[in-house]
Amino acid sequence: MIIYLIYKITLIVIILLMSLLIAMYATLVERKFAGFIQDRYGPDRAGPWGILQPVCDGVKLFFKEEYMPNTADKFLYILGPCLTMMVALLTSAVIPWGGTITIAGYNFPLQVASSSIDILYIFAVVSMGVYGIMIGGWASNNKFALLGAVRASSQMISYELAMALSIASVIMMTGTLSLQETVNQQHTIWNVVYQPLAFLIFFICALAETNRAPFDLPECEAELVGGYHTEYSAMKLGFYLFSEYINMFISSAVISTIFFGGYNMPFISNLGLSENIVTLLGTAFLFVKIFAFILLFMWVRWTLPRFRYDQLMKLGWKILFPLALVNLIITGIVMLLK
């Protein structure tokens, strides 16, 4: 029992640190990638290839002046970024990072919390994320911040529906809400083969949920100064910006798990390796998928211009939502006929 307790705590700490580290270096990769796309090098002054750049950014954010508007609601103003950060980190709890490692007769599953409602949990927590933005934007007592917050909330509501419906068709197919179970069912064929449309809808909605271009209207530098974080400075601003990258990491993990077979590696069972090595290789493969998706997120961001607000709403309600419904119905019909 005590071994499992220690094991779970270690796993939680590792996953937390890993999320933070990956988010930290995602900022550097993003800037490098943006640079490459624009025929530049990106940051390369701090350390070789700029690998110390995230550290410099962090130090800078820590030592900046902590400015708070005197008309702001003090409590909510501080609560906003904390909530965003917390919610962003919460989601990683249910993601199965790998199979089970067996050491001296003990089984150590590489998942912090395995339950039968993993997907529901993710949706519940992710939709909490908008509260951080809303509260922060409202508490700033700034028109731009409020507009950003309003946009964020309406965007979340419109895209959550299509997202949930696209996942619903996958759930109908797999018949489970447990992510571990979902991954195990994709041992031979990934879900994306059966549900390409659901994947497309889910990916677009994931872009909207993480507030990244082309759906970064809550920030929208060109119109709203900084959107919901206009009045934030120092590490509170850092929390907002940082949680965006954590969200991106978690979204990539969820997409890889639900649609791309999670830690399943094709043909790995034919190699005749020991169970533990297969598990570790699977985890590595999951991370390859996650990094690929993070890059895809960035690639999309530096390619597409921002949507206009009415176009965003139209896409969400008039295109993605009906499309997800149609997909759901088709899935149902196919399942009936089978």
């Binding site: 990638f33 490459f36 025929d39 090098y41 690639w299 999309v300 390619t303």
Partner: protein, 190 residues
């Protein structure tokens, strides 16, 4: 008459079904951006790499000395007059006995200041100078912390007296240039 061969007639035609999906256009755009990732970067990494500068690049000024190390400038003020940015100011003084080694002619510039923030590096002072005293060089003006520091006096402008530390201006003081400066019918010599 067409001004360019890149004109394109704008039309308001309805999008076809495939076009209205936007996905083909998005993938085309993403193909363009990913191609740029592997292109040669145009950045010049400044402190390590420097942009090549032409031999007659117009940078920071220099006040030349003659072969015997005497200042050529006689404070005639033609450079200040020619200067479109009014960056040059000077105070003239008379050479006293014993200073023949320092100044070539009886009058010299006691104070000679160029405001490097006002200067537009056009090189008109160089064209106007009848004594071949002022030249622009390839040196780029350094960054400073205050505006006052950009007013360069004689300490920064006059070239060193050592023969081997002299600045070579032969590239910009060619025979052609010298001949042009002496043409009597040109406006600058009337």
């Amino acid at each position: 008459m067409t001004l360019t061969n890149r004109t394109k007639v704008v039309s308001n035609k309805q999008m076809t079904f495939v076009e209205s999906l936007y996905l083909p256009a998005i993938f085309a755009g993403m193909w363009i951006t990913i191609k740029h990732v592997f292109r040669k970067k145009i950045t010049i990494k400044y402190p390590e790499q420097k942009r090549e500068i032409a031999d007659i690049y117009r940078g920071q000024h220099i006040l030349k000395r003659d072969e015997q190390g005497r200042e050529r400038c006689t404070a005639c003020g033609l450079c200040a007059l020619a200067c479109p940015a009014e960056a040059i100011t000077m105070i003239a003084a008379e050479r006293i006995a014993g200073e023949e080694k320092l100044y070539r002619e009886e009058k010299y510039a006691k104070v000679y200041e160029i405001n490097m923030l006002r200067c537009i590096y056009c090189g008109l002072c160089e064209s106007a100078c009848p004594k071949e005293a002022i030249f622009l060089t390839q040196k780029i003006v350094d960054a400073e912390y205050t505006r006052e520091a950009f007013i360069y006096g004689k300490d920064k402008l006059v070239e060193p007296i050592d023969m081997d530390k002299r600045i070579d201006v032969s590239k910009r003081q060619t025979d052609k240039v010298l001949k042009f400066k002496q043409l009597k019918h040109e406006r600058h010599n009337i």
